[in-house]
Amino acid sequence: MPPLLEVRNLKVQFKTQDGVVNAVNDTSFQLERGETLGIVGESGSGKSVTALSLMRLIPNPPGKIAAGSITFDGENLLDYSEEEMRHVRGNRIAMIFQDPMTSLNPVLTIGRQITESLELHMKLTGREAEARAVELLNMVGISSGERRLNDYPHQFSGGMRQRVMIAMGLSCNPELLIADEPTTALDVTIQAQILELINRLKNETGTAVIIITHDLGVVAGMADRVVVMYAGSIVEEGPTSEIFANPRMPYTIGLLRSIPRLDEQDGRKLTPIRGMPPDLINLPAVCPFSPRCDYFVAGKCDQMVPPLRPVGPDHRAACLFDITLETPIPSQESLTEIAEVA
């Protein structure tokens, strides 16, 4: 059976005044049915753009999908007409946005917004759609759904609104649910509830989930597999347990070192990744992480873009060297060299 989703060499560009921004470069990954894939990376690494590309929602102009293919259930979504794509959106691929405070229309009732996609895709009549909407609200843990249908978004709290968004996302039983930082705008207790809800619904409905986040804790608790993105490219990919236990790309290692851990005994200092992500307008053909890398080797890392290579079973990393958590960080001398190169 082919994978549910297969992205091959995806390239997304945005035209700006300063030049062409290569938001996503040559990205390939795949997703099986019922699987949860975590996409992590810092701001501007291309996570959200990748997600929007899957929905073909890149604003054009200025953006465009320049190359690659997105094969969903055996068909290339990039070949679809806008009309065909409309029947995929919300129906077979659904999306949950980051900020539930702004992603619900303030002047429409919750009921109207949930029933909209039901009437659109499932061809339900008004009354059937309402019954289904009540069912969905109960499913996401909003009680007395009949009454809540007539409420407006401002009458809901942030967590409740995100539940409504999830209900909307799952309304047509999509095969794929894309959650773009679904918990970033929520406080921690609500975050846990929402993640738990997504997990439960995933198990109940068998929907595949792509969860986009910069929170490694979210990924650890949710994802089967993880893709780490940096500067528009995938730099490491593998099963969640493997990524956390045995990261092979200095960027992933840096990410893991920069988060606090409760099970740490002594007063370990957090080590942030220094520097800033590169400008995506003129990316030179070097390892994009090299200016920030502790393991930088002059004459190697600044010569080529490291390809994604297998470093273990089902585990790929884009580093020229075999670096693990145990590899000691080289002395300060090499750091001065880095400064020279940068």
């Binding site: 102009p61 409309r86 959106r89 129906n91 946005f97 229309n105 909209e116 659109l120 009458q155 909307m168």
Partner: protein
Amino acid sequence: MTTTAQTVPKGGVIDLNVMRKERSLWGDAWHRLSRNRAAVAGIVVIVFFILVAIFAPLLAPFNPTIQTSNNSLRLPSWVHTADQSRTGNFNNLLGTDAIGRDLFSQLIYGARVSLIVGFIPQVLILAIGVTLGLVAGFAGGRIDNLLMRFTDIIYAFPDTLFVITIATAFRETWVGQAFNGLLLIFISFSIITWTGMARLVRGQVLSLKEKEFIEAARAVGVPTPTILFRHILPNSLAPIIVAVTFGIPGAIIGEAVLTFIGVGMRPSTNANNPFPTSWGSMLLDGYANINSTPYMLLFPVICVGLLTMAFTFLGDGLRDALDPREQ
């Protein structure tokens, strides 16, 4: 230390939500509007004039087109002179005009024209302005540029001069004759004043289409026309309503001015015409007889003033009530 706590009935859960009153956005706005005295006074005046206009045949003591001899330029009922043919009587409450038509009845029927002249052009302005604004704002790029430059060109015409020119040029054609010339007033007024509405709507669409809930609607697969009309338009309804309310008094005064300078509505002599006269044409008559009967000018002026002020107060109130910053 004592604390007060809600007693939870055994085996039951209190649903705190039930106690909350249901309130929609428009409910909130109405609540705020009803606390604004000037706006409420405006509504009362507007409703009063609307009722007068609707029930004009029942309220008016005479048909305003009927001329009676030996009864011209009669003064209002409370003004008495030695001249028996002109002294006020209760037959003609507000007196009569130069050809013996009852002023009170004319005022009542005149409300019809003023209100209709206020409302109908707004419908046309909405149709043109909202359509162009939506298309320009949503399509963006070259289409937006083209439509907005066209809007700028129209905007650059001097309004009144344009309306006078059109009204004069087409006065003798069938368009100019239709509905005593009212149709021509509607059209000439609308095709010059829609620019403000188009700009307003375009601005709204430009800011709304970048909102996340529009992206979310697209991610659900909502077709573009539905996004425009069901998601974007209702969000920009508040400023549109305010603009329409402020536009109405302008149109009412516009009609009065046009008719006053003689290129607007034609007073009808047909007794069955539902729109026999307007406050504008009464102003014209009154001005002609200002020396003998200044009241003829005074009454329509009061009516036009009251109605425009009422709409302005209502517009002010609506603007405050619908302002999202107050929510």
